[in-house]
């Protein structure tokens, strides 16, 4: 086991180099660079869109005149020393920009993922147990309807009807916190944030129930039809025990695969939700960086999520072994 873990951890390094190299190549090879974007934005060019010679000068400032591989090597060398460089948009260290956005995104995602799991998995189990019942059919119809509603539309509707000046006025119009004139108490602050998070969390969660619920339903159904479940029932065990001790635990294994995506998922923001609710999170940061070819920011976010993905995969492989002792890790590499 130890040998396996060490091997896997060592494998992470070349993988990271591969991933970041490809990311870097893509950004550099994509047409347009940061300097040319100074000409204007959103379909309107500024007068005197900068002559070529001056742009060339400026490209040198950002090292864009160097060969791509040298640029990558420079980046990698700094990255190893945990120096992410400075963002081209505001000249601040990239680490600082990520530090600003990360807590916001983390809070939102942890709450969302918790709610999605807490609701979807029991729903899936119940649907599987009551297969083809009215509840099973009805809930799956409802979940799929939710799944197919576009979040930008729902988000705006929620704001319009629950926090507008014209209809109900229950929730705030975006943001994460009220603008306090004096520093609030701890509880008041927590409640205030919670109050601000209600609508964004609804918008983020409603579409995700369908997948997880259907997934856990399918897994459980597969297990329920196994012979050992019949055996368990034949032994005279209660239905509760059959489902939760014998069936559910075995249906967990495919769910573990999903966990691999959980860790990077925590970091991934939603551009749409962050935009509608004016929440300055990682999603918007990454999106803007890509549009403006802000290479240091793109590379930092890209490599962090690559590392998290790899760790996620490693963890889920290890959890397999715990959930299913038949799996032998040593032979897996």
């Amino acid at each position: 086991m130890k040998k396996y873990i060490v091997k896997r951890i060592l494998l992470i390094f070349p993988t990271i180099i591969g991933i970041t190299l490809i990311t870097y190549l893509m950004v550099r090879l994509a047409p347009g660079d940061y300097t040319s974007l100074k000409a204007g934005m959103e379909g309107e060019l500024k007068a005197g869109s900068v002559g070529r010679e001056i742009l060339e000068e400026e490209r040198k400032l950002y090292g864009l005149d160097k060969p791509i591989l040298t640029g990558y090597a420079d980046w990698l060398f700094k990255f190893v020393k945990l120096d992410f460089g400075t963002s081209r948009k505001d000249g601040r260290p990239v680490a600082e920009r990520i530090k600003d956005a990360l807590p916001v995104t983390l809070t939102l995602n942890i709450i969302t993922i918790l709610i999605v799991y807490i609701i979807s998995i029991p729903l899936g189990i119940y649907s599987a147990v009551k297969k083809d019942s009215l509840f099973d059919r009805g809930s799956s119809l409802a979940l799929f309807i939710l799944y197919s509603l576009p979040s930008f539309w729902i988000g705006l509707l929620l704001l319009l009807y629950f926090s507008g000046g014209e209809n109900l006025n229950i929730f705030p119009l975006g943001g994460l916190m009220s603008e306090w004139e004096t520093e609030p108490g701890f509880f008041a602050k927590i409640l205030d944030i919670a109050w601000h998070l209600v609508l964004p969390v609804i918008t983020l969660t409603y579409g995700s129930f369908a997948f997880l619920a259907r997934y856990s339903r399918a897994n459980l159904l597969e297990v329920i039809n196994q012979q050992y479940i019949t055996t368990a029932r034949a032994k005279g065990l209660s239905e509760m025990k059959v489902i939760f001790v014998h069936a559910f635990r075995n249906s967990l294994i495919p769910l573990i695969t999903l966990m691999a995506s959980l860790l990077p998922g925590l970091l991934g923001g939603s551009v749409i939700v962050e935009r509608i609710f004016s929440i300055p999170g990682i999603g918007l940061l990454a999106f803007e960086a890509i549009l403006s070819r802000d290479i240091p920011v793109i590379m930092a976010i890209g490599s962090i999520s690559a590392i998290l993905t790899l760790i996620g995969i490693l963890l889920s492989d290890l959890t397999y072994a715990i959930a299913d002792p038949r799996i032998r890790l040593e032979s897996k590499i």
Binding site: A30, P31, G32, S36, L37, K38, A39, G40, E42, G43, E44, L45, K46, A47, G48, S49, V50, R52, I54, E57, E58, L61, Y62, T86, K89, D90, G91, R97, A101, L156, L159, L160, G164, G165, E166, N169, P172, L173, G174, L176, S178, E179, W180, E181, P184, G185, F187, A188, K189, L191, D192, W195, R275, I276, S278, I279, P280, L284, L291, R293
Partner: protein, 527 residues
């Protein structure tokens, strides 16, 4: 847990929740203005900033030597008390106001100007978009503590505007040996203006407060909060709810969502034009568009009035040339290219484009009239315009393919001249020198990407640049406007207005030619 303690906790939670809510509603002070920002600026350094948002904010913090009168568009003194121009129009001497202080204390002097010019020209400073305007400034000299002189390498009628409008940054703050592009004060600006910087909550808001030591007239507003709200629909909701005082409106919001009596009772709706125009550019290097008759014909095929009404709710002015519609240079005698498909067809056939093989598509010398129309993605107007054009052109036998590109790619293609036709807008200056757009010298690498080359136009632009007599320049530019009309390098579309909704909490909200001036607003007393 006992039932009783459970209840106590519940009650406590409820209590905190309610106090939380009411606390959150802490009222904004009446003399505070909350303005909408639809995106966050990168930096607040006027020397390197590139976005429009920076200008909105820094306009209150930083000042330049001269400024433009908001109504007459003439240059008037700001940090300079007065100026003199040498007879050869090469030397511009500015006499600075005495006793002007940076908001952190030290006096503003000639050294700040000298330093600002030095960083502006420094190749290490990431400001190519600013440098391009100062290529002809040879040097800036300090005459004494309150006098500076700019030396031009050749005369230029906009020289006063450029050297007087140069961004001025405090030497005592920035000249500390650290990197200018990433200097900490790029996000903590210190200026001489009526407001000073207070706080920047990244991604949320930027707060300015009145500069108590301001040398000029102090504004009625004591605090400005720029609130970052990216979604336009949400911003309008916030305005209605009283969380914002100033919001820029989209056309559809202006027409459909702000018409109720309740709205007009509480908000001003204001409209003004900044110098910009939208157009369709025809790449004259392509065989289809090298003939001015074809370009004019295409203009006749486009129903601009209908497009204006349909896509912009009629909010805009049809233009015939590149000059700012409210400036003297705009030649009002130039007629609009009217919508006349028959005339268009006739012109096309005169130019040799006929359907000889009866396949429904015009051709000339065996070549079909089939081109691509490049638009930037994400701009609704361009997308809808493109589909209207596609349909209208197909009726007369012209095949048009729509190519949509992300902005960075789009700009790149424009720079490399890899397009047939394109739709875009230009944001211009008020005294619009057309040189960059249309001079033949700019066709290779500059902004003349449609390859417009006309010797008379070149001649006029060269002459106008050194013509300091305004009335003569007006004559030259009126003639230029006619040439542009005859040649039709672009099909000119519209000037787009800026639309704003502003809370009636404020008085003296005037619309100047150049727009609004928050500094003169008065806070209305509570009833």
């Amino acid at each position: 847990m006992s039932k009783k303690s459970y209840h106590t906790i519940l009650a406590a939670a409820l209590f905190f929740f309610i106090t939380g809510l009411s606390g959150g509603y802490s009222r904004i002070h009446p003399s505070t203005l909350v303005e909408h920002l639809s995106a966050e600026p990168g930096t607040l350094n006027p020397m390197t900033a590139t976005d429009a948002y920076e200008g909105m904010i820094n306009g209150h913090i930083y000042e330049a030597l001269v400024e433009r009168d908001r109504d007459t568009l003439e240059m008037i003194p700001r940090l300079a008390e007065r100026w003199t121009i040498s007879p050869d129009k090469m030397r511009f001497r500015f006499f600075l106001k005495k006793g002007v202080r940076w908001s952190d204390g030290p006096e503003f002097t000639a050294d700040d100007i000298i330093y600002s010019f030095r960083v502006l020209k420094d190749p290490k400073t990431a400001n190519s978009h600013v440098k391009v305007y100062y290529l002809d400034v040879q040097s800036v000299e300090k005459i004494d503590r309150y006098t500076v002189e700019f030396l031009y390498s050749r005369p230029y009628y906009l020289a006063l505007e450029f050297c007087g409008g140069m961004p001025v940054v405090p030497k005592h703050i920035f000249d500390d040996g650290t990197d200018f592009n990433t200097h900490k004060n790029n996000r903590l600006p210190i200026g001489t203006g009526p407001f000073k910087f207070q706080k920047w909550e990244t991604g949320k808001r930027i707060i300015l407060e009145a500069n108590e030591n301001y040398w000029g007239r102090k504004p009625g507003i004591k605090k400005i909060i720029y609130k970052i709200v990216m979604e336009q629909n949400v911003a309008l909701q916030m305005l209605k709810k009283g969380e914002l005082d100033v919001v820029a409106l989209r056309e559809i919001q202006w027409v459909r969502q702000t018409g109720s009596p309740k709205f007009t009772e509480n908000f001003y709706k204001l409209k003004y034009y900044q110098p910009n125009f939208r157009y369709i550019g025809w790449n004259a290097k392509r065989p289809f568009f090298s003939d001015s008759r074809v370009r004019l014909a295409l203009g006749h095929l486009i129903n601009r009035k209908a497009i204006l009404d349909k896509l912009m709710f009629g909010l805009g002015e049809m233009v015939t040339g590149n000059f700012y519609i409210f400036s003297k240079y705009y030649n009002k005698n130039v007629k609009q290219v009217e919508y006349d498909p028959e005339k268009g067809k006739r012109l096309l056939s005169e130019a040799g484009w006929r359907d000889t093989d009866n396949d429904g598509i015009l051709d000339r010398d065996g070549r079909k009239f089939s081109f691509t129309f490049m638009i930037p993605s994400g701009t609704e107007f361009s997308e809808r315009l493109a589909s209207i054009l596609k349909e209208d052109f197909s009726k007369v036998g012209i095949e048009m393919d729509i190519r949509k590109y992300e902005w960075a790619v789009f700009v790149n293609k424009l720079h490399n001249r890899e397009f047939d036709a394109v739709t875009l807008a230009w944001g211009l200056g008020y005294s619009g020198d057309p040189y960059q757009l249309w001079h033949s010298s700019q066709a290779e690498k500059g902004s003349n990407f449609c390859n417009f080359i006309n010797s008379e136009a070149d001649d006029i632009m060269d002459k106008a640049r050194v013509e300091f007599d305004e009335s003569k320049r007006v004559k030259l530019y009126h003639r230029f406007h006619e040439i542009i009309y005859d040649e039709q390098p672009y099909t000119f579309l519209f000037a787009k207005p800026t639309l704003a909704a502003i809370s009636k909490r404020f008085d003296n909200v005037k619309v100047h030619v150049t727009g609004l001036n928050i500094d003169e607003w008065i806070v209305r007393l509570e009833k």
